[in-house]
Amino acid sequence: MKTRYSFGGDEHIFVECDEEMSLQAFFKGLSITNGVRDSRIKGVTEICPANASFQIKFNPDEIAPDDLLAELKRIEETASKSVASLKTRIIEIPVLYNDPWTHETLMRFRERHQDPSSTDIEYAARINDLGTVDNFIKAHSGAPWFVSMVGFVAGLPFLYQMAERSKQIEVPKYLRPRTDTPKLTVGHGGCFGCIYSVRGAGGYQMFGVTPMPIYDPTQTISYLKDFMVLFRPGDIVKWKPIDREEYDQTVVDVEAGKFQPLIREVIFALDEFEKDIDGYNRKLQEALYGH
């Protein structure tokens, strides 16, 4: 895992922790970006952690690009010795799989898909050797998911499945991106899941929709009053398959200000997780549901 530094014009340094995705690469980026934040380097204006990389935006009038580069390399050396552990949250997200809205949308963009004769979820079930859609939903909602990046658009989480690599769901993106995706679509592209925080263009396969808003620029939704974006890198997501009745009720509850998402604080330690993935995920679930 070799770190690669590159200038993004005269205002950014782009740092690739690894070419391929892994939680080790994520934690390497997280520990360096934490180090950058703690160092309060003059001229650094934005610190953006991503899946297996990160980006620092800076003002070259305040710090010479080469000086910042040297500083980052120094921080990388110290950060490599830190423990990959995180005080974070596990959040339950209800999902209506196979919902009518993503279905209508995926039918509208069928000619941009690898397999126009099936739906996105049928296609994903087949190419991941899961057989049926029901099996796919079990696999998708079984293990929890790790928020390894927030971005693309406001508040959108990139989700990395907390499972052995051989069991991780992988699907290609659409052949050509759609110009429309329903708000709160649960999507997947490459090895990453996501929740589309707003309606708009998108290239990920669409599996379902959540009734739980994750971005609210008006800050009126009860649990988004303090800040308009729900997710931060390091959060853990547990999908909860729901039926249409529960979906409709949740939408009503959210509007009435009565819905409170299920969120628990947890510690995530990477080495313990990797020693026993299934056992660790069970413990996370116990922390979420209290049993």
């Binding site: 782009f14 995705m21 953006c48 990160f54 508040g155 290609p172």
Partner: protein, 324 residues
């Protein structure tokens, strides 16, 4: 004081110099695409450089003022008219209550900036009045203007006099073809040496898909990739990477066909490789490109990028002293 929107134009938004600090959660800078033009307009009417004005794209709005003010229009050449009478761009003029500001057809550039003494006084959201339409954030109700809107205008602390102007030598506009200087890097190593040469020698044309998120270019040769085994998580297309951050000005080339330069409302990250980044000094120029205009990417090194940045600062300082 308010401005009544009779007709909104094509895509008119409230913008100041932007909203730094939230890119890590996917909320981009936003703000004027031609920052120097907005600064100039603000200075002409006596505002702070960062006051909110209106960014007009291709086609101007029709606006009514409810009280006297000083107004200036800068940037692309979309000639203003007051009660039907022509007014000069880059020159402040007085308006009275009931006056109507409208616009003639676009003559050059792509975006005009309207500054009003006192500034557009929409609520400050996360430190800025800029509109981020994709996230329905900031500006006037998080969206472009519509007929019937009424925009609050702040109280001017010091109103600029009418008739002040900015010399032509201090108005920067793209040439034809436009020269966009870029620093190669990021994932430049993904394309072949030959493809890298073509990228820099081909003449590109602005595609119709050109907006505040990004500018798409077409007309150059398809880029050939260096062979590789796809890294886990990236996707099978040779132009895919494990989803990463996108710098402002970064040039991604999905499928190797049409380069997209991200701008002020950039998506903050994604899964396409980038060949490099347009330097900060040339970002304003992109905001003044129309579809079908020609452009050329020119590779520069960091020293040249910093020199260009200094030159841009010198220009801004000259505008300030011209109006002091």
């Amino acid at each position: 004081m308010a401005i009544k929107v009779h007709s909104p134009g094509l895509s008119t938004t409230v913008q100041d110099l932007g909203r730094p600090g939230y890119y890590h959660i996917g909320i981009p800078l936003s703000g004027a695409m031609d920052r120097e033009a907005l600064r100039s307009a603000n200075l002409l009417v006596g505002n702070d450089e960062n006051a909110a004005g209106l960014e007009v794209v291709f086609m101007g709005p029709e606006l009514e003022f409810t009280a006297p003010a000083t107004v200036a229009v800068t940037g692309g050449e979309i000639p203003p008219k007051l009660n039907g009478e022509p007014r000069e761009t880059w020159k402040s003029f007085a308006v009275k209550a009931g006056d109507i500001l409208s616009f003639d057809f676009l003559k050059a550039g792509a975006r005009a900036y309207i500054a009003v003494s006192g500034g557009i006084d929409v609520p400050v959201v996360l430190g800025s009045r800029s509109t981020y339409t994709l996230g329905a954030l900031g500006g006037h109700q998080g969206r472009k203007l519509a007929a019937g809107d009424e925009l609050p205008v702040g109280t001017a602390s010091k109103s600029g006099a009418a008739g002040r102007t900015i010399p032509i030598s201090l108005r920067r506009m793209p040439g034809s073809p436009a020269t966009l200087r870029m620093l190669p890097g990021l994932y430049w190593h993904r394309i072949t040496e030959d493809a890298g040469k073509h990228f820099l020698t081909d003449t590109w044309k602005v595609a119709p898909e050109a907006d505040r998120i990004g500018y798409r270019f077409r007309g150059g040769q398809k880029l050939a990739f260096v062979d590789r085994k796809p890294p886990f998580g990236a996707g099978s297309d040779p132009s895919n990477i494990v989803d990463a951050c996108y710098p402002y000005g970064s040039i991604q080339v999905p499928g190797g066909t049409e380069p997209i330069v991200l701008h002020r409302d950039a998506v903050s990250g994604g899964g396409y490789f980038m060949v490099g980044t347009v330097i900060s000094a040339d970002m304003d120029l992109i905001g003044q490109l129309q579809p079908h205009m020609q452009a050329q990417f020119v590779a520069v090194d960091m020293a040249a990028a910093l020199k260009a940045r200094k030159d841009q600062d010198t220009l801004a300082a000259s505008v300030r002293s011209a109006l002091a």
